[in-house]
Structure formats: C-alpha cells, structure tokens
C-alpha cells in the first residue's frame, strides 16, 4: 500500500481548491491511502473542508502559532517530520507549493517531481518541460520518498461527501526564526479566482493601457468570469502580476478562455492549453493564438468587446 500525504493549501478560512485537485491526482496511485495535512494557527475550519473531500482517509491538523502564515522555512521542517510515515508527499503547483515542496524534498534528501501532470504508476509520472514543448516521463526511486508538486490544471477537483477522520497532530521540529512575515497586498476582487474560474477573459498588450483593461473587467462581470493577462500586458503595467497566465504565471484550465489582443507566445499558450474551449479575438489574422483557438475572430477588439458584451447580456 502507498501512503500519500497531501499538504493542504488554505488561507485560514477556506481550503484552496488546488488541494481537491491534488486528491484526484493522488487517487491515480493504485492501492493508495490519502491523508491531508493542514498547517496553521487554527485549522479547525479548513480541516473540516479537507475531511469532506471524497477519498480522504484522514486529516492531520498541525496547529501552532508559528504557522499563522505559510512560510516555507517554517513549514518545511514540519512537513519533513510528518513525511516519515508516508511514501508520497504531494503539494499543489501553486506559489505556495512551489515555494515549500522543494525545501521539504531537500531536507529529506530526495528529488522532486515538479508539475506532475499524469500518474503512470506509483513511481512513474509525466511532467512538462520547455514551457510544455515537451512532456517527459520520469521514474522515481521506489525505495525513496516521492515528493511532487501537482499541476492543478491537469486534474479535476475531487468531489465532496467524504468523511475523513480529523486528528490533532503535534510535530516536534525545530523552527527557524530567521524568516518573518511582514504583510500581503492582494488585488482583492469579487470576481472569481483566476486559477479555478470556469470562465476567463484575458487581455494582452493590444489593450494599450490599464484604463482599457476596464473593457475586459466589464465583459468579465457580465460573464461571471475571472480576468487574466499576458506577460506583455503585465510587464507594461496594464494588469497586476497575479493576473499573469503562462509558463511563469498561472496555468489554468477553464471551460472557456477568451483571449483578447493576445498574440499567443508559446510561453502564454502553455498556460492555457488545458482550457476546454479557447476563443481568440485579435486584429492580426496570422497571430499564433489562432492556431490553438476553437473559435477565432479577426478584428478590432475595441469594437468587438463592447458588442460581445451586449450580445451575451
């Protein structure tokens, strides 16, 4: 039997949906038993959410004051200590998991499989390299622990209705004081979360200004969509960094992705290739985005977007 530990991501109140996707990934390992660990100052609420995910056997609550903020240097020794009882330790391939998991792997002296996109066997996995231009199959040492970050766009979220057993777990690990949380600034919005939204409207450099991005926000609100951006638009200051979609930004898999004024650099396409349907609106009919779009429309976005908004309303 394989014992799989998933490091749950949360903000103290809500379990991040990436965790439910890690559960689905873990279910791909035959004869596996799934446990979720949640680290925080008070994890009662998120532990209950984790326990409700179908297929989860147990939830470990690691509550201590130092875990108020998810600092990798503080979390890693605790996760490494928990790892003793498990064969596989998974985290989401989000900024939280990507920061934390390699630190855990190094403490354990093992390799990490980054961006695990498919399980081929208990120790055999597929992952993308070169911005998704190639997919490799890697085999981990079956005698060592497997550490992985799970490419969340590759998996559906596990359903609810589970009844995992929640237990308080005390972990003895020396925690460093050399890393301190100062604060956070989020572009807090009522719009759906980009990483998990079913609909995403995304803009590129052709928008021309931050002001013009309001066109997209307006359309997105009509569609109930999240708003994303290409790297070019973020670099130009038209959109916030957390909106970036692509190789070095967010990898997403919405039902519908509307790319507006985005030419479609390979680094951007790697972030959207798991979208169910891609719509491209661009004035350049030769733009590479049309090579991957299910529906393409060539024209002036400043005419098309308001018209689109009117017709879907």
């Amino acid at each position: 039997m394989h014992k799989i530990l998933i490091v749950g991501e949360h903000d103290g109140k809500t379990l991040n949906p990436a965790t439910a996707k890690c559960v689905t990934c873990a279910k791909g390992i035959a004869d596996g038993e799934i446990t979720i660990a949640v680290l925080g100052a008070d994890t009662a609420a998120v532990a209950a959410q984790a326990a409700a995910l179908a297929g989860v056997k147990a939830v470990l609550r690691v509550d201590r004051a130092e875990n108020q903020h998810p600092l990798a240097a503080v979390f890693a020794p605790q996760v490494a200590a928990l790892a003793a009882d498990y064969s596989h330790i998974f985290g989401p391939s989000t900024s939280f998991g990507k920061d934390l998991m390699p630190r855990v792997a190094a403490l354990l002296g093992v390799a990490q499989v980054s961006d695990l996109m498919a399980v081929e066997g208990p120790f055999k996995f597929r992952r993308p390299i070169y911005a998704g231009n190639a997919i490799i199959t890697v085999e981990a040492d079956s005698a060592a622990k497997v550490i992985a970050t799970v490419r969340v766009a590759s998996f559906e979220a596990a359903a609810g209705g589970g009844a995992g057993v929640v237990e308080l777990k005390s972990v003895s690990a020396a925690l460093p004081a050399h890393t301190r949380y100062v604060g956070a600034k989020s572009g807090s919005t009522d719009r759906p979360d980009l990483q998990t939204a079913a609909r995403v409207v995304s803009g590129g450099r052709a928008l021309g200004s931050a002001e013009n991005f309001k066109l997209l926000f307006s359309l997105a609100d009509k569609l109930g969509a999240a708003v994303g951006a290409s790297r070019a638009a973020v670099d130009a200051g038209y959109a916030a960094n957390e909106m970036q979609v692509g190789q070095t930004g967010k990898i997403i898999s919405p039902e519908i992705y509307v790319a507006i004024g985005i030419s479609g650099a390979i680094q951007h396409l790697t972030g959207i290739k798991d979208a169910r349907t891609i719509v491209a609106i661009n004035k350049d009919g030769e733009a590479p985005i049309f090579e991957v779009a299910d529906f393409g429309l060539v024209g002036d976005l400043f005419q098309i977007v308001p018209e689109f908004e009117k017709l879907v309303g």
Binding site: A73, R103, A111, T179, S186, L297
Partner: protein, 249 residues
C-alpha cells in the same frame, strides 16, 4: 554586505522552439542557440545594482555545466560580475545536485546573499534555490519582485498567486527572482573586452565533493498533445451563436 553569489544556468535561448527527437530520447539541442537563463540574468542584474549602491561588494557568478558554459559566465562578467566559477561537468545535474554544488561553493565563498532565477526555462523545475536554502539552513525568499537590504536583513516582496507578499529574512539568505524585479542591462562591447581579463576559475563536482546522483530517471520524451485548429467566425453574432450552441454561454 561583502559578497553576493549569483547562480547562472546555461539554457536553450528562450526564442528557440524546442523540438522532441523522433526516437523520444530527448529534445534536439544540436546547434541550438544557448543563453543565460533569463531569470538568472535578472538575478545578476539585482546583485549588480546592490553592488553599485554599496561599496566594496564583490559579485561572484557561479555555474554548473559543460565547458562551453564559460560563454555564459563571460556574459555575466561583461554585465559586471567581478569573477566567475564554473563547476564543469558533462552530465546534466538534477536540482538537488545543483543545490549541493552551490552549497559547496557557498561554504568556500561565504556570501551574504545568493541570488538565482526562480526557475530555469529548460526543465522548468523551480527547485534549486529552495533546495539550496534548505540544506544551507538559511532563509529563502522566492519569486522576488522587490529587494531591500538593510541592517543584515533583506525585505523581499514576493509575487504570489494572491498578489504580493512581503517577508523579512536574516542574511545570509537565498533569493530567487521573478520577472518584474528589474530589467537587465545590455552588455556593451568594451565590457565584453574587459570581461576577458576577469578571473574565471574552473573546478569540478569531484573537487567539491559532490556526487551527481540520478534520483529521477527520464524514460521518455514526447511532444505535447496538439490542440485541433478550430474555425474562424466572421463576426460577433456568429461567435455568440457558436458559443451558445456549445452550451458555453
């Protein structure tokens, strides 16, 4: 602050469209343009800016790779690094081996800061900085978009999924950099000439006492599944109709 170490990787240039070998044994790298990993260029630029603001700070560029990696280290020297170290090896090293190698160098050099790119654009692993920080038992500040150094501490603003997060770390520390930290300078011809005279030491994994163990075996390399090219619609009305028919609106 006396010394900053910057770790640099030689990678396929980001403009090259990488292709998979027909026999699935890897990607085609023969005759392909190689460059400094773009994120590592940003890391070096940040180190140089800290050096230029302070006084008496040395910037050391370190890389692991084939003999030709000297080209990328010469670029680093031309940008302004004071000296370079190449840990020469013909085998591709995994992130944990890279981290162990950089740790061995750090133990000799005793830098106050180690900068790396957040990921290399070849294997997209995003691990080496975090692993180095772990085994060095020092803080890590990943995905930096702003770095301030004062009083033996670094205050780092990080690009995270929810927006921006700020943490404070004691030095020495490992900082991995994100895209928007700075815009790397262009190298000028006189700097390239000057760089030829700067010291570039070559050492080996063996000399550093690091073994290049293979922990993850790559058994197959394949091209990604291609999306089918879709249809072009002539106007917004046709687009909306098509989306409604698919149940998407």
């Amino acid at each position: 602050m006396k010394k900053i170490m910057v770790c640099i990787k030689r990678v396929v240039d980001y403009n090259v469209r990488v292709r998979v070998k027909p026999d699935g044994s890897g990607v085609m790298l023969d005759g392909v343009k190689m460059s400094v990993n773009p994120f590592d260029e940003i890391a070096l630029e940040e180190a140089l800016r800290i050096k230029e603001r302070g006084s008496g700070i040395e910037v050391v560029a370190v890389s692991i790779g084939v003999a030709d990696t000297q080209q990328q280290l010469r670029t680093a020297l031309a940008m302004g690094a004071d000296r370079a170290i190449l840990v020469q090896t013909d085998t591709a090293v995994e992130p944990l081996t890279a981290a162990r190698t950089f740790l061995a160098v750090a133990k000799k050099e005793n830098p106050d800061l180690v900068f790396l790119g957040k990921q290399a654009i070849d294997d997209d692993a995003n691990q080496t900085g975090q692993m180095l920080a772990a085994i060095w038992e020092r803080p890590q500040a990943t995905y930096a978009s702003k770095v301030e150094i004062a009083d033996g501490k670094a205050t780092v603003t990080r690009e995270v999924d929810a927006g921006l997060e700020t943490i404070e770390v004691d030095l020495p520390a490992v900082i991995t950099v994100d895209l928007r930290l700075n815009e790397p300078r262009y190298v000028k011809l006189p700097d390239i000439m000057k760089a030829k005279k700067k010291p570039l030491d070559v050492t080996s994994l063996e000399a550093l006492g690091v073994s290049a163990s293979v922990l993850l075996k790559t058994v197959k390399t394949e091209p990604p599944a291609q999306r089918q090219k879709g249809v072009m619609v002539k106007d917004v009305a046709e687009l909306v109709d098509a989306l409604k028919k698919k149940g998407l609106l």
